[in-house]
Symmetry: C3
Subunit: 258 residues, 3 copies
């Protein structure tokens, strides 16, 4: 057995897959003793998706030697729809096999399994250089999703402007111009907080259609982290419940005004 990975809750992988479903068609799951990793450009080769599921996220994890398993994201999503939220999930791959097996159990008397055909996907390994962001903002992930969706109605492009006073999301279009301003906000629950770490104020502009897709990862984590720098790609990051277990990251290059 070259890979054996058990998740206590199948729903974790389900949320991960749903989060990238509208961005990527086929992806490589890079397996190593450290866990599972996906790095992929979105279908239009503009945004970068980076998932890390550390071995600690699994109740059992064994990977004999590093390997890349290419899967169709849509198929994966259909397989995971067979799992109930509380089901456990076992992923198994025998070295050399052309299928990977997903087995999902809810109690002892219901077992659903699927042998998914693997694909050869050309993998362009990307080195993501560690960034030192001028601004790191943390806000409720549902709020971020709502802002992206609301502003998407008015235009294609969103300007983000962050300073110590707050973070403003702006749009301009045929109907007029709109802004949503969030000020830093204390709260009991981490996911209700708005916090800003500002080394230098930043203003940058991004394509809304990607942000709308990134923000669909909201079910993964109550809060989202945005990393901003001048002329740097935007980082949109969701921790997996326990941040030690990994994260889902999206990167998007800024739009440069002519």
């Amino acid at each position: 057995m070259s890979l054996e990975a058990h998740l206590q809750q199948a729903v974790l992988l389900k949320k991960v897959v749903d989060a990238i479903k509208d961005l990527c068609k086929d992806v490589n799951f890079d397996c190593s003793e450290k866990g599972l990793q996906v790095q992929s450009m979105d279908s239009s080769h503009v945004a970068l998706v980076s998932l890390l599921l550390r071995e600690s996220a699994f109740s059992e994890f064994k990977c004999e030697r590093p390997t890349s398993l290419g899967m169709n994201v849509d198929s994966l999503s259909k397989i995971l729809k067979m799992c109930s939220p509380s089901d456990t999930l076992k992923i198994r791959w025998q070295g050399g096999a052309d299928t990977v097996s997903f087995q999902c159990e809810g109690g002892e008397d219901r077992i659903a399994d699927f042998d998914l055909k693997l694909m050869q996907i050309e993998s362009e390994h990307m080195e993501i250089p560690e960034q030192h962001y001028k601004v790191v903002a943390r806000l409720p992930s549902s709020e971020f999703q709502r802002i992206c969706r609301d502003l998407r109605e008015f235009g294609e492009t969103m300007q983000v402007k962050a300073s110590k006073e707050g973070i403003t999301f702006s749009v301009q279009g045929d109907m007029g111009a709109g802004n949503v301003l969030l000020k830093p906000r204390e709260a009991d629950k981490l996911e209700d907080k708005v916090s800003l770490t500002v080394h230098e104020p930043v203003t940058a502009t991004f394509a809304l259609r990607y942000l709308v897709n990134f923000s669909k990862a909201a079910p993964l984590c109550g809060s989202v982290e945005l990393g901003l720098g001048p002329d740097a790609p935007l980082l949109v990051k969701y921790d997996l419940e326990n941040s030690d277990n990994g994260h889902m990251q999206f990167y998007l290059a800024p739009k440069i005004d002519e």
Copy 2:
């Protein structure tokens, strides 16, 4: 500042706009010291929409001189989707400006605003003569909506027949003929009541597609008032929560049988 109007609950304007969204494309908001008013034919020039938001509906209202602000209803609806149900709304227009500003606040740490471009809309001011209806019926607005929707499945035209005994909504079509009869009904809550004030029994016929659209205003008020007269337009009226604050009225000419 030529207009400054604050609503305690943005949701009121949201419901109003949703109620006319499927009928009118662009409308003039006529502002005066009395409040805001919309009078508009529907896009097919068959039905008449008449909205009155009295200044008492606003927590603050100032209008220096009467003016007409032309807006696209769909844009307005998108702007108001940015407001949460409990948000406050501030509408501002500076004399002469070509945009009107909507600012929606939920607490102090989230402010969404939008500057909507104004439009020139030819306004045909209509005098709606005070009618003395032969029948005034009051019924639950959700019931009215359901009847219109259900009967719409069977035909294009609805006959309304009202007497002291009750009000009957009828339809005829290829599948057959159907009726819904409501009898006067006492109830604790006003919105559950069915009451009929009948000076003279009335029978009249109307195009269902408009009634279905009117009845979408149900979220504005738990009960709806129908005014009927022989050969007179039908009145469909929704009070704004507190009826002193205004109302939403629809008028529809009857169909004359040949």
Copy 3:
């Protein structure tokens, strides 16, 4: 009056009609002193639908002499949408009339009625021979619906394999191969149980699109019964709440492998 049938709850007929709506276009309701019966091939002449509503299902039932009333299922569904879940329903047909009347009452102050035009439908009376199934399986109807829907995503055909150990539903397609295994399961509520009566293990293959449609009858009954035999049609059976009152049965011929 040739037929007078009263149902305490209109919703029973509503569920029945919804269950056959996607299978049959026009059907004959065969009325006799025993109750109402529908036997019809589905529109593609592959599956057989058999409904029995015994006279005991009605609070009042009178049928002077056997007759067949041909109705359009879609129209019937629209009429029954006029009924609230707790409404009573009265079905009336006067011998020789070309319409059948449905009257649905919720309390005394709301009466909806519809005179549905009858149709002449060529009725091919089918004798369904009593089958002695090698396997009779009983499982939660919602579970059966979910399995059919989930597997439908992967292929056109489902293999059912039943033995004393359990029942396995399998599919094969371009993405790979999947199975759902249910083992016998005790439970307090009948509708949570999985039970298998096995005279001889059976393996048979069926077209999933019909099974998906059959399984929509789930609201009729918490559990569903499957009858299987080698080379025999599959029986999918839903009792009406009280099984003495009748049942809804679907039959589907197996796919023969070449």
